[in-house]
Structures are given as structure tokens and as C-alpha cells.
């Protein structure tokens, strides 16, 4: 069985699994990292959204064999550490989510937060602020309909990410 190595939440990991297994299942079923959720398996619902080298990606649609040893995969579990948060401290976007009490069932929320953080970083790279049009284009499904609070939380979290 081939060995797959990449960096997960700051630490190198190696898994014995075939190249073509999608990263989502390596994370969830083999490594027990269950923050990224399954909601479609075809890159539509975005419940599995995580980061690769700081950008949003959907591990349900990436073969583990396509990851390089140096690729840094971050799931919701590793998000606080990306801003140097210690202990139980959270990323500012997670704090915004708490303040606005966004989650209902919570199933979509790890993906929503990871997408939000990547979106803020993307518009910053483009040298601008988040607009209504950016929020309209977020594809993450929330079947509980928490969309309004998500929009409010992203704006709040973005301000705190300065």
C-alpha cells in the first residue's frame, strides 16, 4: 500500500492508503479528523471546506495522491493555530460566529467558517473589502437557513482579522 504524506494542522502525517482515495475520507475515516463534514461528495455543498496552503479547497474532490509532502492542509480543528491562538482560544472568525450565535444544527458551520476565512483573505489579496456580491457568491449550503447571521458574522470576523 502506498504511503501518503502531507502536513495536517501543522504536523506531518503519513497514511497507508491508495492514491485515489479522496482527502475527505483520509481525514475522516482514517485519521479521525471529523471537523470537515460530508454533504454531497461532489464539490457542491461545501460542507467539507478546509484549507490547502491557506486557500479554501474541498477535500471530497481531491485525491490524496495529488497532495505533495509539503502541502499544508488545515481543517477547522487547526484554524485557531493559524493565527497563533493558544489553548482554548479561537480564530477571530470563530469568535464572530459565537457572538452572533450563528449555528443551528451546526453541521455546515465548520465549512462555512473555513470558507469565510478564505474569502476574507482572498479579497485582501485583491486589495479590497468584502462586498454584498462576494457574500452572494458563497456556495456553502446551510439547510437550517442561518444565512443572515452568517453574513453578519463574516463582516464582523473580517473586521477582527485586520
Amino acid at each position: 500500500m502506498p504511503k501518503q504524506t502531507f502536513i495536517l494542522n501543522g504536523k506531518p502525517v503519513t497514511v497507508d492508503v491508495k492514491d485515489d482515495v479522496r482527502v475527505l475520507w483520509v481525514l475522516r475515516d482514517l485519521l479521525g479528523v471529523t471537523g470537515p463534514k460530508y454533504g454531497c461528495g461532489i464539490n457542491v455543498c461545501k460542507a467539507c471546506t478546509s484549507h490547502i496552503n491557506g486557500k479554501a479547497f474541498n477535500p471530497c474532490s481531491v485525491k490524496v495522491g495529488d497532495l505533495k509532502r509539503t502541502d499544508k492542509v488545515t481543517t477547522i480543528e487547526g484554524l485557531p493555530a493559524t493565527v497563533g491562538a493558544k489553548g482554548d482560544d479561537l480564530h477571530p472568525m470563530q469568535e464572530a460566529w459565537l457572538e452572533l450565535d450563528v449555528a443551528q444544527c451546526g453541521y455546515c458551520q465548520p465549512g462555512q467558517i473555513m470558507a469565510a476565512v478564505a474569502l476574507v483573505k482572498k479579497v485582501r489579496r485583491e486589495g479590497r473589502d468584502i462586498t454584498e456580491a462576494d457574500l452572494d457568491r458563497i456556495r456553502n449550503v446551510c439547510r437550517c437557513g442561518t444565512y443572515v447571521r452568517i453574513r453578519e458574522a463574516i463582516e464582523k470576523g473580517a473586521r477582527a482579522m485586520r
Binding site: 485515489d20 482515495v21 479522496r22 475527505l24 475520507w25 475515516d29 482514517l30 471529523t34 471537523g35 463534514k37 460530508y38 454533504g39 454531497c40 461528495g41 461532489i42 464539490n43 457542491v44 455543498c45 460542507a47 479554501a56 479547497f57 474541498n58 477535500p59 471530497c60 474532490s61 481531491v62 485525491k63 495529488d66 481543517t75 477547522i76 480543528e77 485557531p80 479561537l90 470563530q94 460566529w97 459565537l98 450565535d101 449555528a103 443551528q104 444544527c105 451546526g106 453541521y107 455546515c108 458551520q109 465548520p110 467558517i113 474569502l119 454584498e132 452572494d136 457568491r137 458563497i138 456556495r139 449550503v141 439547510r143 437550517c144 437557513g145 442561518t146 444565512y147 443572515v148 453574513r151
Partner: protein, 781 residues
Amino acid sequence: MTALEHDPQANREVPEAGLGRRGFLGWVMAGTTLVVAADLGLSRTAASAIPSLPQVPEVYDLEDLQTDAALPTANLITVTINTDGTASFALPRMEVGQGIVTSTAMILAEELDLPVEKVKVTLAPARPELLFNQLTGGSNTTFSTYTPIRVAAAVARRKLLDAAAIQLGTTVDRLTTTGGIVSDALGNTVAYGDLATSAASQVVEAVEVLLKSKAEHQVIGKPRNRTDARDAVTGRKKFTTDLDVPGALPTMVCRPPEHQGSPKRIRNKTQVLRLPGVTHVAMVDTGVAVRAKTFGQCIDAVRALEVDWNRGTVSGESDQTILAKLKAQELPMVVPQVPVLAQQVDTRFEFMFRSSAALEPYAAIADVRKDRAEVWAGLKAPIVAQGNIAAATGLRPDQVKVNVVTGGGSFGHKLFGDHAIEAAKVSKAMGVPVKLMWHRVDEPRQGRLHPMATSRVRATMLAGQVLSFEQRHTSVTTDFSHGLGEMITSLADELPTGLGGLGFAETIFTLTQELPYNFGVVTQLLNEPLEFEDKFSTGSMRNIYSPDTCVAAELTIDLMAKKAGKDPMQFRLDHVKNKRVRAVLEKVKKEGSWGRAMPKGMAQGVALHKEYKGATAVLVEIDCRPETVQRDLGKETYTGPRVTKAVIAVDCGLVINPRGVEAQMQGGFMDGLAMTLSASSHLRDGRFLEGSWDNYFYTRQWNVPPEGVEVHILESDSDTPGGIGEASVGSSAAAVACAYARATGTLPTRFPINHGQVRFKPKSFVPSMPASPTNGLKKTY
């Protein structure tokens, strides 16, 4: 002993009007630490006489039915005070996102004088002795558990005070409690945790207590964030597939192409067993199950399976054929068409199938052995599931342990134990534990649906007066076999007049429909023709019949207003039945600036709904201008007309947690919006075409009102909490429909309005699952 005469807070009162001050009885259970109990049946006093009012729900509604059905079981819920100063309580209900764990913790904290953080609420496993008392549905949880939970907490506090009095050498009336600490006038304190053992009892003892009055509430009614919020945002919240049950490997099912088809034979079992990761392949009645090391390998194996299938239950049928059959069964109106002199409004609407699937697909873990079984799943009616699992595996119910896991949404979907029963069958067939998960495509194609229905309305007016309002709802059978049905049977003889002799569905319909207007003679009737029995996998999706009946009624009311030459808002205000509904309507009128000028192609719409002991009014503004409707946000994206703003006013009785109420109103709005504008399932040749979120168009960010969904919670004179989980769905669906009709100058008659055109290429039926993409690294941002 009774504690009444020593009660330190003599001004505590009991909500029952007319009975004077009355204590509630609770129990102290025998134990090493303090355990108290109360009877779940406390939620109502003896059923009151039912006056013969025009419509049943005004005096007796679905909540009452559920609460009364729970009465005779007389079973106990218990609260434990732990030595670390926390209180624990296992709630015999299921949390699926509606916030009941938080509101229950708040209710306990209130009566115990304990910080909410120190109250641990968990979900109870199936407790067959509770019978109907363990069904989460019909927005009934808080209504039916409010009093018993408070009684148990009050008993606990009372016993802690007794123990503290002994320890501090004083009397109970000199003690106060705050934040989990008992203090005397001298400043001596003792924490609940330190009293937990000494307050414990050797024997069961009855204690009478008084409850705090509404005016004394410090926690109830104050906005509070969810207790599980931190777990949700850190990814620590565990759903069924996140649980690590030893040996329970990922399992998925290859399903038939037709709705409710079944497998005949597997052609290539041996080859599939040799695929990477695969451990087992087994046929069950719903399809062919595959167990593997990862879900990804399950998907690959399902795609490789070659299976011969039996036809489904609606082979050859399509939307049009089912609609024609429904039409043929529509019940007649009583008032003849066009009586002399009178004006009449006659309408007919069609409502398509919808999927009630949550974002978390159906999932269950099952470990079935020869003499016992254990199951983990999100279940709203775990006792019914326990019985079904026992039947499916040939075990006795007491050999089946059912653990209730928090669900990733339900919307009625998890009232049924389909997933748990299927997992148990698969585990039995394979002889190993399984972690079963449905693929997304399985959900809209084989999962529970909101039934297709038609609704006809005839209103008769004479000289501006409404004489009659008749509604005839005709629906594909709604499956109520998750427990509500049993509730009705067990209560058959005791139901109010007007309900005897009705079937399950008709009873539920009668209990939930309540037109909040004075429209003369009102009749609302349901017909669910027998020919559809078991043909479709259906269920009571969030708000059951009301989204459809409310859309039909409110659109008709707009037409009536037009005929009467009145503004739609004024016409409604002129006809509202009582002050609660008037108050919510007046509120949205004011906050939503009803009647403000809007550009051509945009309009406001308003609708009202009364149910679950509450009233909800919704005002929306919609933009149907071509530049909005034709927004192109790429493929797999349905844009269409856009609601730009929504204002909701709700009277939902006593409010436990306003933040939770706001969340439920906003979430319910998103459901109503989808039902009217975008979300449906197309039936073609016995198959449902939709397969995932890229073609089942549930509300997405690009459909969300950019100016927000404003929620106003009205001060209520009610002392008891009403239901909130579904309260805004029907009125939102209807307000959007009314606004659309006014903006476009057309009367939409089929819902959702985009159903006519199939805007996607259906995913493959054989294989039953789409391939997992591999190009994810090209789509990073």
C-alpha cells in the same frame, strides 16, 4: 413532608388561572447524590371542555394532542445534582438544531438558581416506558416539558435548601440561592456541589413546591447563545458519522433507479468484494450494501456493482399523471358557483414534491448480534424506531438499545427511523457492525418527501362582506407512521368533537389548520386518496400542510381584497379574528413600511399564519425585474426573483430564549422562500430527477434577502411557551407568493414557481452514485 409552608419565596405563584395558588408535586428519588423527579404529565391539567367553535385548533391543536397523548404515561424525568455543583438532565427529545438543549438548560437554571453553564443537558436514549413522551415533532418540545422540568428543578432547590439549613445551623427561610450557592444572612455560604450528597435521600419522598412567577424570571426570556455553539464552531460537535464505534466501518447502499424499487440479484459480488478496502457486500430490501475501509471506497464499489432491479412503486408515473389523479379526487365545494348577486373568488393551486433532507444525510451506526443490538442515530421518535428495529432483526425491543445522537437538521426527515432500521438490517446481513451513511443522491431520490398536493379555495362575498371561505386540500398520502399516528389512535375516544372518525392525516390537518380571519362559514378539508398509500416515501416536512394551505389561502385573500377594492393589508386587518393576530399584522405593517412606493417589477407582500399557539405575520419585498431574475452566477446556480427584505412579527407565547426564537424564524423563512420560489423534486417515469444541492434548489446565499430578515418578538400575555420550530414557514412561503403575484401582475398557480422547467442534466441512475470529482485543487480560492 411538604415543603410548602417553609418556602422562602412566598410570592412564588402557579400559572393556572382560576385555581388560586397551587403547588406542584415532585419527588426526591433514593440515591447517593440528590436526584429529583417530576411527572412529564404535569404539562396540562385535566382536559378542559371543548366549546363548539368553528375551528378546532383554536381550542385544541396539534400541541395539545401531543401533550395529552403524553399524559397517561405518567413517567418521570429526573434531574441529578452532582458533587461538582453541576446539574444533569437527560432530555427525552432530540436536538436537531432547533435549540432545545439550550432552552431546556435555561429553564432548569432559572428554577435552580444555577448558572446555565452548570446545567448539563444530554439526549436520553430510547425509553419505551415513555411511549408518546419521546417524540420530537410538531414544535411541541418546550410546550410539553416546560412545567415538569421546572417542578423537578424546584424540588431540587428545595432539598438543597433543607440540607444547607442543617449544615449552616439556620432555617430555610433565612437562606437565599444565587448562582449555585446557598447563603445565609451572615454571609456564610455553601455550594450546591457540597450539598449534593447530604441532600440525597434514602427513600423516595414526595415534595410539593411552588414555581417562580414570570416576573421573577432572570434567565427565561433573556437572549442566550446556544450551549453547543463552541463545539459547533470548533468542529468538536459530534454527529452520527463522527462517532467512533469499534468495528463499525463505513457502509453505503447501491439503490434502485426507480423510487422505492428493490434489488433482484447482484451479478458481480465476487469482483466487487475484491475492490480496494471492501470488506462486505450484502443485499437488503432497499438495495445492495457495501462495507469498506472508507466511504470513498464504498462509493467506488457501489459504482462498480451490477444489480438487477425490480420496478419501483410509481413505475411509469410522472408529475403530470399524479397531478391528474389528484385532480380527479378533489372534494367538492359546498357553496355553489356564482350564486345570485354574490361575488366569488375561485382559485386552484398545485404544490410539487419537495425533499425534506437535511444537510447531514441519513446516517446510523448499528451493531446487531444474535441476542442483542445497539444502534446510534439521530432519531426524533426513538421508541418507534426501537420497535421497528426489533421487528426487522427478529429481536425483542428490550434487546435493542437505541442511542439518540444530535442530528444535523431534521425538518421532519428524522421523525422516521429509516436509516437506523436499514443500518440494523445491513449489520445483521453482514454479521458485523456498520456505520451506514446515505449518499447525497439517495436523499431526494429515495428519502422522505413532502407530498404533492393541490389546494382549491372558493370565497363568496356579498356587498363587501365575506360570507364563506372554503378550502379543499388534496394530497398524496402523508406518512405519519413515526408515532403521531399512534398518538391519535390511543386518544381516539377523547378527541374533541369534529375529529372522531377522521383518519390520521385528516386529524393532523384539522388540528393544524386555523384560518385567522372572520370569513363567515369557514371549512378547510383534506383528502388523501387511498390510491397513493405507500406509493411514495413521504413524511411531515417542517410545518406539514401549512406552507401549501397558507400559500393558497393568502393568495386568494389578495384576490378577495382586490374584488372588494381594498388594500391587501387593510382587508386583512378588517377581518382578523383576534388581537394576537392583529398585533403581529400591525407590527409588520409598521416595521415593514407597508405601502411604500416601489419601482415597477418590485412589490411587497404580506401573509399571516396562526398555529402552534402562536401567530406569525410576514412582510416581504420582492424584486422581479429582469436584471435581477436573470442574474448569472454560473452553472448549478438558480437565481430567479429575489426577496430583498423580510420583516417577521411573532407572538409565540412565553419566550424562553429570544435569540433562539429569532434563529428559528429566520431559518423557517429560508424554507418558506425555497418552497415558493425554487425547491422541488421532479418525478419522471417513476424516478426523481434531483440528486444533489446543484439541482435541488434550496435557498442559497444568492437568494437570501440582502437587507436581512428582521424578527420582532411580541410581548405575549401567555404564560406558557408556544412552538417556534415551524411557525414562520407557512407565512413566509405565502408572503413571498403574494409579493411575487403583485410584482408580476400574474397569479402563480404552481409551486415552486420555477418547477416548469428542468434546469439541469440529471445525474446517472445506474450507477446510482456520481463519481467523486478529482479536480478540487483547480478550484481553490
